[in-house]
């Protein structure tokens, strides 16, 4: 012992050991699961207060959503729009920005897709037409998203205020345009598009007959993969997350914070805008005033429950779509507004559970180790 000099340092081989998967899974999954349980209990109480059996109502809810092809198709359809708006919100949040403008960006995207579909001749090849319509939807959403981005970067205007106000402006402008210039008489929607109709799932598998689910779902999943790749594999994503986590450290690291803000909010708008294709190209084939109502805001909840991770957002979108479609399935027994209440409960529970559950988990782990 005494022979070995004190200064002799052990050679340590650096490792790349991620936290054990179980720990990470607990961290990621427990808050939403706890939130779900809380919501279920609240749901039980509500159903009981209506004099119904919770078990029967929940069974009906599941049968009406995941239990048959039509219901499942409707869940897929609703999840598609929510996936887009959820991805949009989470993309902004990763840069530390709260995009509440999903509502108007979605509407603007849908409108642009419809307009493009109307302008393009019917003979346009399908793939080409789809691509153009999607690009138009994304561009329109991006333009709406770039306004708060510019105002924040240039003048320091808070993006929450600007996006909220922009919702009013953009929706009113679209309403004026539709009502004044482009509607089919007696309605508030445009004529049907000539080109760019997305195939429905029912065209591929007839069991989905009647449901609105369409190939926009594939686009949503591709966008989620693209967002994941961008955030976690590219230099732009490195910079974007750095700005979201610690803007001052990002600035120190030579990252142009304003430029990242600009990019994050604009692309958040692009993603939300692309969501417009689900309704316009995939379902109704026209733009209708108010089609996006609520989906933009629900995107915030989807992003929150999905823990701002692109794949989590997809799962959360399915969850909220199930609640929303399930409300219709159980309407005969309890008012479908019950599902709105449950959505609210889930959102509050997740917002509360995230830090709280983490704290409890940490405590439990500490005790186990000691």
């Amino acid at each position: 012992m005494s022979a070995s000099p004190l200064t002799e340092a052990k050679v340590v081989q650096p490792t790349f050991a991620a936290a054990p998967w179980r720990e990470r899974a607990e961290e990621a999954l427990i808050p939403p699961v706890v939130a779900l349980l809380v919501a279920l209990i609240c749901g039980d109480l509500l159903i009981l207060s209506y004099g119904q059996s919770p078990a029967a109502v929940y069974r009906m809810l599941l049968e009406g959503t995941w239990g048959n092809a039509y219901g499942f198709g409707q869940v897929l359809y609703k999840a598609t729009t929510l996936a887009f708006t959820g991805l949009a919100v989470s993309f902004g949040l990763r840069a530390g920005l709260f995009n509440i403008g999903g509502e108007s960006q979605l509407a603007a995207g849908g409108f642009a897709a419809a307009l493009t579909g109307l302008v393009l001749p019917a003979a346009t090849p399908l793939v080409f037409a789809l691509l153009i319509c999607m690009i138009a939807a994304g561009l329109a959403g991006g333009v709406v998203g770039s306004v708060p981005a510019y105002l924040k970067t240039r003048f320091g205007a808070h993006e929450v205020i600007v996006t909220i106000m922009l919702n009013f402006i953009v929706l009113a402008l679209l309403n004026w345009f539709i009502a004044g210039h482009l509607h089919v008489p007696e309605t508030l929607h445009t004529p049907e598009i000539h080109a760019g109709v997305l195939p429905r799932l029912a065209d591929i598998d007839s069991r989905f007959h009647g449901s609105a689910a369409n190939l926009a779902l594939i686009v949503a999943v591709l966008v989620a993969v693209a967002v994941w790749f961008y955030l976690f594999r590219t230099r732009g994503g490195y910079d974007l997350r750095a700005v979201g986590l610690q803007p001052q450290a990002a600035e120190y690291g030579g990252i142009n914070v304003g430029r990242v803000w600009m990019r994050a909010l604009t692309f958040s708008g692009v993603i939300a805008g692309m969501g417009g294709i689900n309704y316009v190209l995939g379902y109704k084939h026209y733009y209708e005033d108010g089609f996006a109502s609520g989906a933009g805001f629900l995107g915030i909840a989807v992003a929150l429950v999905g823990r701002n991770h692109p794949f989590g957002v997809i799962v959360a979108a399915f969850f909220f779509a199930t609640l929303s479609q399930g409300g219709l399935a159980i309407h005969a027994f309890v008012p479908k507004q019950m599902m709105d209440v449950l959505q609210g409960v889930v959102i509050i529970a997740v917002a509360t559970a995230v830090p709280e559950v983490r704290r409890i988990l940490r405590g439990a782990r500490g005790r186990r180790d000691a």
Partner: protein
């Protein structure tokens, strides 16, 4: 001033020794004021205290030393009732108080003076002191006069001289600290815990603090001093407890030990306390690329209220030179470094790196021009705490680790392995988030990154702040190596020792200007100290 304990003229004289011998009560086995035994405390998987113990006798100044993350603060937070131990026993004056609350601790006379001041800047000294226990005259009217009298009385008793009517916002850092100490005494504290009290003080202020602490001790109060600075430990304490990795490794009498031994106990191996500077004479070694270093011409930086926080500072740092800036914190050092780094706009003046004007360039462009920067605040700027070590090691150089915008993960990995090995970053797991590391290891990540890339000018701002002895030695060596390689280094540090030991030339910053610039050979702690507090004006126009 009645007893021999006060007064300024006695530092280092026989007064200390009599003072040290005196406080112990007559009993040969006095009841300890604080006894903590077998303390265990984990936060998640991290064991902050793992068999920690502490025994402090009444009426002594007890130094609690240890590296960062050794568990000193956790132990003191348990003592103060802020957190509860997982197991172990805490006794105060012989009473078992394990797991008590903050209110219990205050009632029992424990007073903790935190590193960060907790004072209301818009209130007066007296008002701050009586916050929470305000003496009232009629109903809700605060009795200012009564409060001021109380404060003045306490102030005279302790030697913590301060005018009760002054506003906190008008006080210097040293005075604010006096108020903090008064505040805990005002609530009846007889056991004082001071967490790194000298970190923000100039040398004369430190001497005043020592005088006050000795006087309190001689009055019979018990003082626990948490510190990093071994010279302070030796100067002021009676007994020393050394902690390492959550454990108490030694309890020694100050008179029976040496700084080198304490350092060895803290780190667990031999460390050299003085940085061996003169490795190589100043100047660029043959064969190095032409490097003109850093030049700043008449820099003016405006503060938030239209005040010039930097008011016409000019200097140059030559290749192969370490230019040190000393000064009490808050005299513009932070602003100067930030403006050089591109994080703060300059109002006027020019900044040149290797002869290229970079005054209007962005942070990234300055990186490209050869600037590297160890920031003073690693939690706010230097690291992204949620990012892994590997990702933190490419902050600022991420563009060199990506091709076509995609991060090259193999090279990030390679880079992490190299940095972790050569800088001995622990734990050596590249996927741990930055926040999981101790302060010293976080700083190693920053230093590894900033010194691992090609640069010609390095801004090193408080490079060893809050870093343990072993890492300080290592970081100093890195700075000296860079100097030997012909880099120009601007060193800003609140540690005078550090500035003195490493620099070739030293400037003292006072109120946004250089008070003096002198060769390190002519500088000493005393000389610099006078410029730091503004009693002496120097040679700089």
């Amino acid at each position: 001033m009645r007893e021999g304990g006060g007064g300024k003229g006695e530092e280092g004289g026989p007064g200390i020794r009599t003072g040290a011998a005196q406080p112990h009560p007559p009993s040969p086995f006095p009841l300890p004021a604080i006894r903590m035994d077998g303390i265990e405390k984990s936060f998640g998987a991290v064991k902050a205290n793992h068999g920690a113990s502490l025994e402090v006798l009444p009426g002594e100044i007890h130094a609690l030393v240890g590296e960062n993350g050794a568990g000193k603060s956790t132990l003191m937070r348990i003592l103060g009732g802020l957190i509860k131990p997982d197991s172990g026993r805490v006794e105060v004056n012989g009473r078992d108080v394990t797991g008590w609350s903050t209110n219990d601790a205050i009632a029992a006379g424990i007073g903790i003076v935190h590193q960060h001041f907790m004072l209301v800047p818009t209130l007066s000294v007296a008002e701050n002191l009586v916050l929470g226990c305000e003496p009232k005259t009629r109903g809700i009217v605060l009795d200012h006069k009564h409060a001021a009298d109380d404060v003045r009385k306490l102030s005279n008793e302790t030697g913590l001289v301060i005018e009760p009517e002054r506003l906190i916002s008008d006080l210097s850092v040293g005075e604010a600290q006096r108020v903090e100490i008064l505040k805990v005494l005002f609530r009846g504290a007889r056991i004082l815990v001071l967490d790194e009290p000298t970190a923000v003080l100039s040398p004369p202020e430190v001497r005043e603090l020592w005088t006050v602490l000795r006087r309190l001790r001689d009055k019979g109060d018990t003082i626990v001093l948490i510190t990093h600075r071994l010279d302070e430990v030796v100067e002021i304490s009676n007994t020393i407890t050394v902690m390492r990795a959550g454990q108490t490794v030694a309890r020694v009498k100050t008179s029976e030990t040496t700084p080198a031994e304490i350092a060895r106990l803290m780190v667990g191996r031999e460390v050299s306390l003085s940085a061996g500077k003169r490795v190589q004479p100043s100047g660029r070694p043959a064969g190095a690329q032409p490097n003109q270093g850093l030049e700043a011409r008449n820099i003016i930086v405006m503060g938030s209220r239209g005040i010039r926080v930097i008011d016409g500072v000019s200097f140059n740092v030559k290749a192969g030179e370490i230019f040190g800036i000393a000064g009490v914190e808050g005299n513009g050092q932070t602003e100067l470094i930030e403006s050089l780094a591109g994080l703060r706009p300059v109002f006027a003046g020019d900044i040149l790196i290797d002869g290229t004007d970079i005054t209007r360039r962005s942070v990234a462009q300055r990186h490209d021009a050869g600037l590297s920067h160890i920031p003073e605040d690693r939690h706010r700027r230097g690291l992204i705490l949620e990012y892994t070590i590997a990702n933190n090691l490419i902050l600022g150089v991420q563009k060199y680790f990506s091709s076509n915008g995609v991060i090259d993960r193999d090279r990030v990995k390679e880079n992490a392995i190299r940095a972790i090995t050569s800088f001995d970053i622990r734990p050596p797991n590249a996927l741990l988030p930055g926040r999981a590391l101790s302060g010293g290891n976080q700083q190693k990540v920053v230093v590894a990154r900033e010194m691992g890339r090609g640069f010609s000018v390095l801004l090193a701002s408080q490079p060893t702040r809050g870093v343990d002895v072993g890492a300080i030695e290592f970081i100093h060596q890195q700075l000296l190596n860079a100097r030997a390689q012909g880099k120009a280094i601007l060193l800003v540090s609140a540690e005078l020792n550090e500035v003195l030991a490493l620099s070739d030339r030293i400037a003292v910053m006072y109120r946004g200007k250089f008070a003096v610039v002198m060769p390190a050979a002519e500088a000493s702690e005393e000389v610099l100290g006078e410029y730091m507090i503004g009693t002496k004006k120097g040679n700089v126009a």
